[in-house]
Symmetry: C2
Amino acid sequence: MVGMTDRPNGRGRPGYDLESLLQTAVKVFHERGYDGTSMEDLAKRLGITKSAIYYHVPSKEELLRLSVDRALDALFAVMEEHESREGPAIDRLHHVVRRSVEVLVDEQAFVTLLLRVRGNSKVERRAVARRREFDHLVGQLVTEAEREGSLRPDVDPALTSRLLFGMVNSLIEWYRPRQGLNTDDLADAVTKIAFDGLRAR
Amino acid sequence: MVGMTDRPNGRGRPGYDLESLLQTAVKVFHERGYDGTSMEDLAKRLGITKSAIYYHVPSKEELLRLSVDRALDALFAVMEEHESREGPAIDRLHHVVRRSVEVLVDEQAFVTLLLRVRGNSKVERRAVARRREFDHLVGQLVTEAEREGSLRPDVDPALTSRLLFGMVNSLIEWYRPRQGLNTDDLADAVTKIAFDGLRAR
């Protein structure tokens, strides 16, 4: 059982951690949809009682919040990295795109959940707002790079950001680890195509 | 009411056509999910009886089939166009990408439905198989263009096709007509970024 540890004395707190709980929750949300998943479903899948889940989180919505925040925190952390903050805007943008690919691969299930959130609750609306904030930061980088003269001037910055992250985010639809394609190859392909195009030179 | 026509004599067949039925069905499928939509829901939305719907189609699944086929037929028609069949592979690929953007804009609701199909029924599996066939044709074009020496040789053709159509397909997530961005501008932006990259030259 995922994350279950031996508890020979049979006492005390449930023998699995929040991390395993989240990993399983996000998997079940994908299979059944968030709305279609009950705490009972999660308990069954984990082979534990509902109250053992409530030991960790007060509600299903809190599991959603923790899951989408995990994706969002990882993306915002990229923006805080030195290479995203110093140097020519085009290099910072390149770094952000490359690192975002890595985050998508590392946190694929969580980012997938984030990208499917539509704003149907307070938690979802907050996630949508944070996503917009991230998109806005990318948009600013694109605008700066265009002003700098290092990005083509004939495509609108907002449109550029959307297409760029449209390509990046598409990974969640088809990328599966262990297909003979590692994260580095993937990040290389994305940045080469996005910045230099498909055409041979 | 969408597609309702005046029928002063009150006799004969239901006074709306299959086209209006499909347009409404695809809208309701998006709102409630295909599984969550009943023929009763559709009838209510159209303001007609269920039997009026059954006059046009034998089942909800047939509405799904007609909807995804509409998207697929439009995409396969692009592959049949003269410019997709004659000339250097890179120009044919460019044409296919450009025209696919147009199909996505023209048939956005139907393509969106197609892209969300997961293979849970015979109709869905057939749609998934046709999608794969289309992806395969794109992959062949990319391979040919690479052999021709006109595409960069350092990115795998299968990966290139996926990223390329990842960018194209992302349109369905954010593109809304009448935002001051017409189909031509959109198709220009996609092909410029994909083929020549973001970097200024």
